[in-house]
């Protein structure tokens, strides 16, 4: 799987055994979702023959686990592939390569009855509460539709009365009135519609919910109501979330662990506290630095990234972030950044980062740029390197006169 796993090191936080799922023994210790080198590419077709001209590398080799009962936050800017990743897990998009397991079983191999069962257990809350509810259906049908599709002899969801009872129950669960089941989507405000979307997902008793930017279309005062609701429901129904958002404050508030994506790849993953206290990847640092703080006393020195996100059709060679990287510039543009794709490696305490030069990140600079970072923080990668030294990969056949090329 990842570098840390190959080293055989244990992840101390979740105490997840870093072994193959078959060897894990008990199901309790198994992560709920395991994603291994997942790729989802979209073909670009043109002309009357619909010839494939290229591929959009939406998700391009992502590996991580989602633990049972946690909220895993996935952040990144538009086009980084975070939504595609979630949709691929739910089989709403077709994967190109790699694997994903749910309770140890291959998601992409499921068919027929097994797939239907999986669809019930993995649910989704969509971003846009207006577009995701059919305007011609009353709420009872919107919430009940999933149950009808999943009806069998055991759950009795084929019966209208059973479905209506359940719909009412879950509407109350999300803070709406039972009677609202008779109404239509246009009669509700944005926040209420998002509650209906949540009730629709919950009514199927899922284990896992992919929440795709569930609050980004809402006003601040409504957004906090929905965030609180998600936290309540998670406890009450013992749910596991993949929470995708571009708002870093929201992700920080809700998540247990956070993964940062850039152009189809994970660049950093850590516990939420660790990530906001000791961010290491230059992109994570820039992202955290860019968030406007409502406290006027906070006046951090901004790390302003230059340029736009490159196209995922032809991602940059080597490290995908190198075209905008401030660290690379500081280090005198080392050659391996442009030629070697950095390994997503462990730097201890469940903290993984994809950067050749993570050990060189000056924490004083990070502390100036990110208000949540203390100036006395030590670079976790540099600390880890004292025990097991890390040598950044060297470009083969390259002359050694690059300014920061490591002495060999």
């Amino acid at each position: 799987m990842t570098g840390s796993l190959e080293d055989g090191t244990l992840d101390p936080v979740g105490a997840v055994p870093v072994t193959a799922p078959e060897a894990a023994g008990s199901k309790v210790r198994l992560p709920l979702v395991q994603i291994d080198d997942l790729k989802t590419h979209y073909p670009i077709r043109a002309g009357i023959l619909r010839r494939v001209l290229g591929q959009v590398h939406a998700v391009d080799g992502v590996t991580f686990d989602i633990r049972r009962g946690e909220v895993f936050g996935l952040v990144g800017e538009s086009g980084c592939g975070k939504t595609t990743l979630g949709r691929t897990l739910l089989r709403l998009e077709k994967s190109t390569a790699g694997s994903a397991r749910f309770e140890g079983e291959d998601i992409f191999a499921k068919q027929g009855k097994d797939l239907k069962q999986l669809r019930r257990r993995m649910q989704v809350i969509f971003q846009d509460p207006v577009a995701s509810l059919n305007p011609r259906m009353p709420i009872s049908d919107i919430v009940g539709e999933g149950m009808l599709a999943q009806a069998d002899a055991k759950n009795g969801w084929g019966k209208r009365s059973v479905r209506d009872k359940r719909t009412g129950d879950y509407l109350e669960e999300v803070g709406l009135r039972r009677e609202y089941a008779r109404r239509y989507p246009h009669e509700f405000s944005g926040g209420q519609r998002q509650r209906i979307g949540i009730a629709r997902a919950l009514a199927l008793s899922p284990d896992f919910i992919f929440a795709d930017e569930p609050v980004s279309a809402l006003d601040v005062s409504i957004q906090s109501q929905i965030l609180n609701l998600i936290l309540d429901l998670r406890e009450r129904f013992d749910l596991t979330f993949l929470f995708v958002a571009h708002n870093l404050s929201v992700v920080q508030y809700l998540s247990d662990r956070v993964g940062v994506m850039y152009l189809g790849k994970l660049v950093e993953l850590a516990d939420v506290e660790e990530l906001y206290r000791r961010p290491l990847h230059p992109y994570t640092v820039a992202l955290l630095s860019a968030v406007p703080d409502p406290d006027p006393r906070v006046r951090n020195k901004r790390l302003v990234l230059t340029g736009d996100v490159p196209s995922p059709v032809a991602p940059p060679s080597g490290c995908r972030f190198h075209t905008r990287c401030w660290l690379r510039e500081r280090l005198g543009n080392p050659e391996n950044c442009t030629t070697i794709d950095p390994e997503f490696r462990s730097i201890g305490e469940g903290h993984q980062v994809a950067c050749h030069w993570a050990e060189q990140v000056p924490m004083s600079v990070v502390a100036e740029a990110v208000p949540t970072v203390d100036a006395t923080t030590e670079n976790p990668a540099a600390v880890a390197a004292e025990e097991t030294p890390y040598e950044p990969p060297v470009v083969p056949d390259a002359s050694m006169d690059g300014p920061t090329a490591p002495a060999v």
Binding site: E77, Q252, V304
Partner: protein, 358 residues
Amino acid sequence: MTIESTYGSRPARVGPPPSDVLLEVRGLRTYFKVLDGTVKAVDGVDFSVKRGGRLAIVGESGSGKSVTALTIMRLIDQPPGQIVAGEVWFDGRDLLTLPISELRKIRGGEIAMIFQEPMTSLNPVLTIGDQIMEAVLLHQDVAKSGARDIAIRSLTDVGIPAPERRVAQYPHELSGGMRQRVMIAMALSCNPKLLIADEPTTALDVTIQRQILELIKEIQDRTGTGLLLITHDLGVVAETVEDVVVMYAGRVVEQGTVEEVLLGARHPYTRGLLNSIPSKGKRGHRLAPIRGTVPNPFRMPPGCTFEPRCPYAWERCVQEEPALIRLGSGGASRCWIHDPSSRARLDGYDHDTEVLPT
């Protein structure tokens, strides 16, 4: 910024404001008469921007912040819209009484505007250069080649690489951040005295938002242009402007400096907004959201518009609408909690509530 009390309905000043005030909006009311009734989108808004000053109007959707900006430029479709009352003093003239021919010279010239969605505000069938030159040719006495030079220079000013090539490109060839830079270049090409930016970064990613905010501030510092920023994001407010006006349901509910409003919020709505934002230190705690939703514009509460959602409301708030009350701690707040007769109710409302005489 001068904040005048609007206690009662007496106008604070008559005639043009002092010359150091670039824009002064007084008692502005914009209503929309539609089939179902009248929507009082803007219902009593007062504020002013000093020359070279930076003011933000902050509010949620439906608060009337964008309609306020459009009313200043008289860009409201009439009907269904109607500017019912108010004065908009800009540089010694009341824009609401100015003949339309005079106003056209100001729009896009002395007052420039940037909108939220850069794709829909640019014309897709004209090149970037043509669109910038259109404004330049309209407002400045230059020939076409001169206008092209100005267009290229303003693209350079907003940090667009290879501007000579960009002028010949169409909007779809640019990224969202680049398009917003073009909008800013267009706005600045005629050296405006006031820049109105309506949610200029809402459609952009956070790293691009950062670039655009830095650019607006840098240009504002350099040219001395006044800035009226319309936003829903208190973070953007804290980092961009000096003064804030908080709007709720068509009314100004609180105003003051950024420090006064964001650090020592006096109005219950402003406090609720600040408590709703997930931010550092709030993890693990439940957020304290504002209960309920914005009132239906056709059925506004008779008293204070925030009363149905307010944790402090009492009978008086249901019956009577409070005025904007000037406060000893600076700024103003539209809440009965500051009224001297409500002193007994102030237990637990933890701030300086000295009220200035009107």
